[in-house]
Symmetry: C2
Subunit: 211 residues, 2 copies
């Protein structure tokens, strides 16, 4: 396959595949067909094959995919064959819960710094040992700790300004939990985790499906 544009949705599905594959591996399964994996992930088998085909040929015709190999390949594709240092900006309810939450650590993401603007919090230590820095020290600490990804867990009103500071500090990956659309230059990649939108979507579906 040549150099087609890769749909974002395909990238997201790779994460889902990897989860299913790791579960299968734990159960001792060695090989799986696109059909069975598709069933487990709730997608179309051709979709899996096409998603993988964007990046190479990882299967064995007539047999399927060797799970161990495929996990390694997908991790390499996604850039999960290394660690990523994360900074949390906003250590309120949500921010501190996310730091304590185990799911970040699973795949090589490491919380390496935390920031807030509340004078009462600055200098305090989080349960995991991180010191809370003032947001004004962002650029300095980002350099010191080699931060790759910023997680915004501030109120919506602060999100854009925090994003600006992250970009100035050279952070090109942002995970935004604030319910706000933030504008960033081309070089920076933003993902929004916006559960208010999801809730509204549920409300819409409940309203319309006559429940």
């Amino acid at each position: 396959m040549k150099f087609p544009k890769i749909p974002m949705a395909a990238i997201n599905r790779l994460s889902i595949y990897i989860r299913a594959l790791e579960e299968l591996e734990e159960q001792g399964t060695k090989v799986i067909s696109s059909e069975r994996l598709a069933k487990q992930c709730g997608v179309n088998p051709a979709q899996i094959r096409k998603d993988l085909a964007y990046f190479g040929e990882f299967g064995v015709r007539g047999v399927g995919y060797r799970i161990e190999d495929l996990i390694r390949e997908i991790k390499e594709i996604l850039g999960l064959d290394r660690t990523w240092n994360i900074a949390m900006i906003g250590v309120g309810n949500l921010g501190s819960a996310l730091i304590r939450h185990g799911n970040f650590i699973k795949h090589g993401y490491v919380f390496a710094a935390a920031f807030d603007i509340d004078p009462h919090k600055i200098g305090k230590r989080l349960p995991n040992g991180l010191v809370i820095h003032h947001i004004d020290d962002l650029e300095k600490v980002v350099k010191e700790c080699d931060i790759h990804i910023g997680v915004i867990a501030t109120p919506a009103s602060a999100a854009q300004s925090v994003a600006n500071q992250l970009i100035i500090a050279g952070v090109n990956g942002i995970l935004n939990f604030a319910p706000a659309q933030i504008q960033v230059p081309e070089c920076c990649h933003v993902e929004n985790v916006d559960f208010t939108i999801k809730l509204d979507s549920i409300a819409y579906h409940l309203s319309t499906s006559g429940t």
Copy 2:
């Protein structure tokens, strides 16, 4: 316009529009064109007009949209002209942070019940006054509190079983924070808030854009 299938993405955008509109209203703006709103939301103006056209004609040609009216109309479309009772299942780091978090309450969502499986937590009160029930009492409490939406904030391994219990209890809207694909019958609507996928997506983009 007749009865076209409405893209899910259009529904999600309505939430984004409403946010921008409420901000504009606070600033005292009365009327806005699709072009200016589009700029603010980072989308194409025709997209806004088409999204709204799925549901009716809300603008004034040559003028724009009256903000107050449009907010009311979109709220009605999404089913936000009422309150929705929410149950939190899993009162760990994330669950309790979400309950304390203000964004749920903004648009008529009310936490009306909380559940866990840890015996140490059952019977305790959360800061907002909610008593933590055992998950086995789900069906009973859902009836008593008239719960419409369940939020799953358990480990991935428990997500499917919790979803099953919610459905048995008659809850047809689920917001799933666990990193797991859950299977539900047609009648039930699930939205996933999966920040591990989003993080992987960021890792992919950082890896490929040579940073």
